[in-house]
């Protein structure tokens, strides 16, 4: 086992690691890609049957299952590609322009 504390280095007051290694901890989550989009998906939950197609197809993997079994995108990360809306078998998702 690697002791990650041993791997950390400081050079020029900057924190780095030996050989630029990282723990595979999905730390890109720090980066909120939601700021990229110009359109966002809006779900009509009356039509949504919780089939999960949108969840399977989202390139960001940011569509989450709600407690009622239906699905909704995490807007912190949604880039507004529109795949979920285009593929939803129930046409339950509409892409809406962001105001700002």
């Amino acid at each position: 086992m690697i002791d990650f504390e041993n791997v950390k280095l400081k050079v020029n007051d900057k924190e780095i690691t030996i050989g630029a290694v990282l723990m595979s901890d999905g730390s890109t989550r720090k980066n909120k890609t939601g700021a990229w989009r110009s359109k966002r998906p809006v779900v009509d939950f009356e039509r949504c049957t919780g089939c999960g197609v949108c969840w399977s197809l989202c390139p960001e993997g940011c569509i989450e299952k709600r407690s009622d079994g239906k699905f909704e995108a995490d807007l912190d990360y949604c880039k507004g590609c529109g795949i979920c809306a285009n593929e939803c078998p129930r046409k339950a998702i509409t892409m809406v322009m962001e105001e700002k």
């Binding site: 924190e15 780095i16 690691t17 630029a20 990282l22 723990m23 595979s24 901890d25 999905g26 730390s27 890109t28 989550r29 720090k30 980066n31 909120k32 890609t33 990229w36 989009r37 089939c51 999960g52 197609v53 969840w55 399977s56 197809l57 989202c58 390139p59 960001e60 993997g61 940011c62 299952k65 995490d74 990360y77 880039k79 507004g80 590609c81 529109g82 795949i83 809306a85 285009n86 593929e87 892409m95």
Partner: protein
């Protein structure tokens, strides 16, 4: 937990820098679910490597190594040998991931070597049909008639004038026990194949068509639709070669095919085949070649070849 038959756990975290609508990102989410926790991933230089590891961040939740552009298969060979030496032979999934630029061109010789030696690993090519990360340049996987930045359509050119290289059959001929074509337009089919490739002992290969809206110049919301049309028009048929024998998944009949124009006209990279006027000669060439390729595949399957 499963949704649509796919494991719920995410091994490719959100916040990665892929374009909106990236087919390769969809592919990677799928591949990592098929591989699961007990895997080691080896990645080539390319779009996925670049968007997933912006040091000091990483989108990965699995053991993952990137060496160089052309050598994921060689690095995987070294990993397989090391695991064997550690008494872990065949106990961990070794999955090499590469774009078509790496797999079809610069890394081709190394895949061939690894397959010839018969290491127990799976090579998955996320095929977006060009060198996308460096700016949409032509690769061996770029289809006939597609415009790229190094094979642009112009006054005397229709884009790439060579048919797409057939890496699938080349690797099947190396004696691989399982090779398959897959598309993000048919996600559960792709999942099944990736899983089978990983679970099959020996060197296995899946070519996974992954739409690139940036490079194919297509609307981001249509990435899945286009990857489906590629199959429905017969341009990119889904098939498996299992122990050297063909199995056709779809389309099963030449008469079932949607017109190739349906696929070509939604993508900007084929725009020059329709504007300023329809290039009947080129489109006809594509149509006929698609038909004959599919007929040959179907014949192989029917004759158990």
């Amino acid at each position: 937990m499963a949704i649509l038959g796919l494991p719920e756990e995410e091994y490719f975290a959100r916040g990665h820098r892929a374009c909106a609508g990236c087919g390769a990102a969809i592919a990677i989410r799928l591949i990592t679910k098929a591989a699961g926790r007990n895997s080691i991933l080896i990645e080539s230089t390319g779009c996925i490597e670049v968007v997933s590891t912006p040091y000091p961040e990483t989108a990965w939740r699995l053991p993952w190594i990137h060496g160089a552009f052309e050598n994921p298969a060689s690095i995987a060979s070294g990993i397989c040998a090391a695991l064997k030496a550690m008494g872990k032979e065949d106990k961990i999934n070794v999955v090499a991931l590469a774009g078509d630029g790496s797999a079809y061109d610069i890394g081709f010789g190394h895949i061939s070597g690894a397959f010839e030696r018969g290491h127990n690993f799976t090579f998955i090519c996320y095929d977006n049909e060009a060198y996308m990360n460096t700016g949409i340049q032509r690769s061996g996987a770029t289809p006939y008639g597609a415009a790229t930045t190094t094979s642009p359509a112009g006054k005397i050119s229709i884009g790439k004038e060579i048919w797409k290289k057939n890496l699938v059959h080349i690797l099947a001929d190396h004696g691989s026990p399982y090779v398959a074509t897959a598309s993000i337009g048919y996600l559960t089919d792709a999942y099944r194949k990736i899983k089978r490739a990983i679970e099959t002992k020996g060197p296995t290969f899946v070519n996974l068509l992954a739409t690139c809206p940036t490079g194919w110049r297509s609307p981001t919301e249509k990435s899945i639709e286009i990857a489906r049309l590629a199959v429905e028009t017969g341009i990119y048929p889904l098939y498996e070669i299992i122990e050297g024998r063909h199995v056709i998944n779809r389309p099963k009949n030449v008469s079932d095919l949607k017109p190739v124009e349906d696929y070509l006209k939604i993508q900007g990279r084929f725009r020059h085949l329709f504007r300023p006027e329809k290039n009947e000669k080129a489109i006809n060439f594509i149509r006929e070649r698609v038909k004959s390729n599919l007929e040959l595949l179907i014949e192989h399957a029917q004759k158990n070849l």
